[in-house]
């Protein structure tokens, strides 16, 4: 932590106001002030629409000028006023004094240019270095962000790298000229937890070496607890509160902050429910699925998406399938739903075979397993009213139209929406409301099993909590078994009785949630848990978790739960 004193912050934003252009331009950001000192990380936290990304884009001078304008306030970078600075001056400051990395590493790099050229371009624009020097600098920074074999990476195109590697490349590009300020806009949101941890560690290490000031934008309280020195909470375009990390997490002064923190599920497993039923709602036995693309001239690449997966689930209970991307958890859901055909293995619902069915028997099976999809914006037909959407399945199974519509209205009430929602179209509802509609649709035919594929991942954390409550309530009323697929250990801890951990198509571990989350003996599960950001902090109670000694008693043997 060298350089500037607290009196001279690297970034100093005062009373920043951003408006939509036009006569009745709505204010999107109102009088926001914040500052970041050298070597410090300020986490800017907020839900979608809070204005946190606008703040960062305004600093970089990257606001879409056609639609938005800065209505007031000042943005100072190392003492220099950026508001009203010329385009040329802003271009000169970018990557030399301020840099930015973005959320989506998959799309943030130019797909048709080599990695080396993309980093070198920064040096080409901003320095007078010769070709050889530039190349040397690129190799050097690639090594500093811990990318293996920098020479090979230089020649690679973005699609040849993983998400984590691309984000490292973005960091290399942002930091190659050692800027005073780094703005990181949700840089790890699109990454798996283990990769996220590595990238966060990298950012922290580089910051220590260089004394970079970091404005870190995130919606994830876990990440905040990992990386922030200070925290600023934004809501609906206004600053709610700012303070030290410790202060905000343990002693939030505003109701909004308290509510936000309370909605964060802890990593504490829920108390398991009594296991009453004798039979199984869902049984999977030896499921295999291999995806292979075989071209005409061979060279097929095969991916083992499911490798001998056997699981079962009792009525009224929830089994969580947890894993990182590529673990096969979504393929599992699609196979259970018969949207993909497994290569081999058996699926039984309440004891009846459901795999390899066609025609009428497939249709009859389908009413016994229903699904809630991840993306609430794409899982409802935009042209069909909510009532008709919910009534579709009952009608398909022979219910008269009027009766099915009446049922749809009852179901809407059940999921916490007004009866007249049935007459409206999906675009009139928010993401959380749509997910409620999707749940109503899924339970309309009273299925035995409900599959939820990342059903709350696209939602803000406060909405997420409400939808999770709804799942529990529905389950309590109907006794449905839920297969809950998620990448988020906190969500799994919050809702699941049992948890199965998957990796690379294989079942790593399967047991009661308490055993898996607190006393796993599987190396991979432990790594996942260790990587979960903020796992030491109990957000909902505003305090750290009591330090736990590794609990080795009462562990179920890996494999089947007791």
């Amino acid at each position: 932590m060298t350089g500037a004193s607290p009196e001279a912050p690297v970034l100093d934003i005062r009373d920043l106001t951003i408006r939509l252009r036009g006569r009745d331009g709505a204010t999107l950001l109102q009088d926001v002030s914040l500052s970041v000192a050298a070597g410090e990380t300020l986490c800017l936290v907020g839900e979608s629409g809070s204005g946190k990304s606008l703040t960062s884009l305004a600093t970089m001078g990257l606001l879409p000028e056609a639609d938005l304008e800065i209505g007031g306030g000042s943005i100072r970078l190392c003492g220099e006023e950026l508001r009203g600075a010329s385009r040329k001056r802003l271009q000169a400051l970018r990557t030399t004094r301020m840099s930015m990395i973005f959320q989506e590493p998959m799309t943030a790099l130019n797909p048709v240019a080599r990695i080396g050229d993309q980093i070198e371009e920064v040096l080409l624009i901003h320095t007078q270095l010769g070709t050889a020097e530039r190349r040397a600098r690129v190799l050097d920074i690639l090594a500093k962000v811990n990318l293996p074999d920098p020479r090979a990476i230089m020649r690679a195109y973005p699609d040849q790298l993983s998400g984590g590697q691309r984000q490292r490349v973005m960091i290399a590009m942002a930091l190659v000229l050692e800027p005073a300020l780094l703005i990181a806009d949700e840089p790890t949101t699109a990454l798996d937890v283990t990769t996220q941890k590595q990238v966060l560690d990298l950012i922290r290490t580089l910051q220590k070496d260089r004394g970079t000031a970091i404005l870190f934008i995130t919606h994830d309280m876990g990440v905040v607890a990992e990386i922030a020195d200070r925290v600023a909470v934004l809501n609906a375009g206004a600053m709610v509160e700012t303070g030290s990390l410790q202060g905000v997490l343990s002693n939030p002064t505003r109701d909004y902050t308290r509510a936000l923190l309370k909605a964060v599920p802890g990593l504490e497993p829920r108390p398991a429910r009594p296991d009453t039923s004798a039979g199984f709602a869902l049984e999977l036995d030896g499921l295999d699925k291999t995806f292979g693309r075989r071209g005409i001239f061979g060279r097929g690449r095969e991916v083992r998406a499911l490798d001998d997966i056997s699981l079962h689930l009792r009525p009224g209970r929830t089994l969580g399938i947890v894993g990182e991307s590529g673990s096969g958890k979504s393929t599992l859901a699609r196979c259970v739903m018969q949207l993909e055909a497994p290569d081999s293995g058996v699926i039984r619902v309440c004891g009846d075979h459901v795999d390899n069915l066609h025609g009428a028997s497939l249709r009859n099976m389908r009413r016994r397993i229903q699904m809630v999809f991840q993306d609430p914006y794409r899982s409802l037909n935009p042209r069909v009213t909510v009532g008709e959407t919910i009534a579709e399945a009952p009608i398909n199974y022979g219910m008269p139209h009027a009766e099915a519509l009446a049922l749809a209205r009852d179901l809407l009430v059940k999921v916490g929406l007004p009866r007249n929602a049935a007459d409206r179209l999906p675009h009139q509802f928010s993401g959380g409301q749509r997910q409620r509609i999707a749940i109503a649709r899924a339970i309309a035919v009273e299925p035995d099993v409900l599959v939820a594929d990342e059903a709350v991942s696209a939602l803000d954390v406060s909405v997420q909590a409400q939808v999770l409550d709804l799942f529990e309530q529905i389950q309590a009323e109907m006794g449905v078994a839920i297969l809950f697929i998620t990448h988020d250990l906190r969500v799994a801890a919050r809702i699941c009785d049992d948890i199965a951990v998957m990796r690379g198509g294989q079942l790593v571990e399967w047991g009661p949630a308490a055993a898996v989350l607190t006393a796993s003996r599987q190396d991979y599960t432990r790594r996942l848990l260790a990587a979960a950001p903020g796992s030491h902090w109990d957000f909902a109670r505003f305090r750290p978790f009591p330090v736990r000694a590794p609990d080795m008693t009462g562990i179920a043997a890996p494999g089947r739960p007791a």
């Binding site: 943030a108 624009i125 001239f297």
Partner: protein, 315 residues
């Protein structure tokens, strides 16, 4: 080796397309209601004339035999003889190739040079007056028939201003000056619709990529706007633009037929229309086959060129 496999695969993929065109052209004559010989010779034809036509086109043999002989000839680039002049069709085509090829090449190069920068500019300045003007021009270009544009330009440049000849063609062998003065009007006429097409697609493709994350990254790096547009955005927008240059060829060929007719150019378009007037079917079918083959070939080349622009397309 994989490169060759890929090229081979693409070439093989054109075979069914060309086969369909060949069968279509073949059946067009044979399945036309009534006697094909009468369709060609007209109602007043004598029995002797009909017999000659039937013999020339082997219409007196079973359909399958006709097809096999016909395909064998086509593969050897033997399109038969003209029913009117008696000359081999391939020779007729060769004679008429130069004017058409000259006009087409001048048109394509001129169009791409104008349309691509125009498209980039309009996408960048979306909603501005330049953009609106260019969009209006492109809609107009699609809406006014080629021959009307031709007559408007003839009226202005050849009749009122007397800068350029009204019609006709001068081969390059007569010197660059005469060649250009004859080629310029037809090429400008033809390029109106081509420019409209390419500029429109460039604009749309640029608008698609200009809001992508990597363009924002380029700006965040401190790239100047021209660099952002041409080095980062345009290269990513190249494939749809290339594609429309290829598929627009069909429009261009149709336009050539009209333009040659208006400017009285002794090219392939003129040959086709004369053949249609005279019901010279061997020439008509050869022209359809040849233009389709050119279309398929150029689109094949463009397909192969995609990988130059996008490394994600792998051989």
């Amino acid at each position: 080796m994989p490169v060759i496999f890929y090229v081979l695969k693409r070439i093989l993929a054109t075979v069914p397309v060309m086969a369909f065109v060949a069968i279509f052209v073949f059946l067009l004559l044979r399945l036309t209601p009534g006697d094909p010989a009468v369709a060609i010779a007209g109602d007043q034809a004598t029995e002797e004339q009909l017999r000659q036509i039937r013999a020339a086109l082997s219409l007196d043999q079973p359909l399958l035999v006709q097809f096999v002989t016909w395909i064998q000839q086509i593969v050897r680039l033997d399109f038969g003889k003209s029913l009117i002049s008696g000359l081999p069709v391939s020779e007729l085509i060769a004679q008429r190739l130069e004017p058409t090829l000259s006009i087409a090449l001048v048109t394509i190069s001129m169009s791409v040079l104008v349309a691509v920068p125009l498209g980039v500019l309009t996408a960048w300045k979306q909603g501005s007056w330049i953009d609106r003007g260019a969009v209006a021009f492109s809609v107009l270009g699609f809406s006014i028939p080629v021959f009307v544009i031709a007559y408007m330009l003839i009226q202005l440049f050849a009749i009122d201003l007397r800068w350029l000849p009204v019609q006709g063609f001068a081969p390059l062998s007569r010197g660059l000056g005469p060649f250009l003065s004859h080629a310029i009007l037809p090429s400008v006429v033809l390029s109106v619709i081509y420019v409209a097409l390419i500029a429109r697609m460039t604009r749309a493709a640029m608008l698609d990529v200009i809001h992508e994350d990597f363009v924002r990254t380029a700006r965040a790096k401190g790239c100047t706007e021209p660099r952002v547009l041409f080095r980062h955005a345009l290269r990513n927008a190249a494939i749809p633009i290339l594609t429309v240059v290829g598929t627009g060829l069909a429009l261009l060929i149709s336009g050539v037929v009209v333009t040659e007719s208006v400017f009285n150019l002794p090219g392939l378009g003129r040959l086709t229309i004369d053949a249609v007037m005279a019901r010279d079917y061997p020439v008509i079918q050869a022209m359809i086959l040849v233009t389709s083959a050119v279309y398929v070939l150029i689109n094949l080349l463009i397909d192969l060129a995609y990988s130059l622009f996008d490394p994600r397309i792998k051989y």
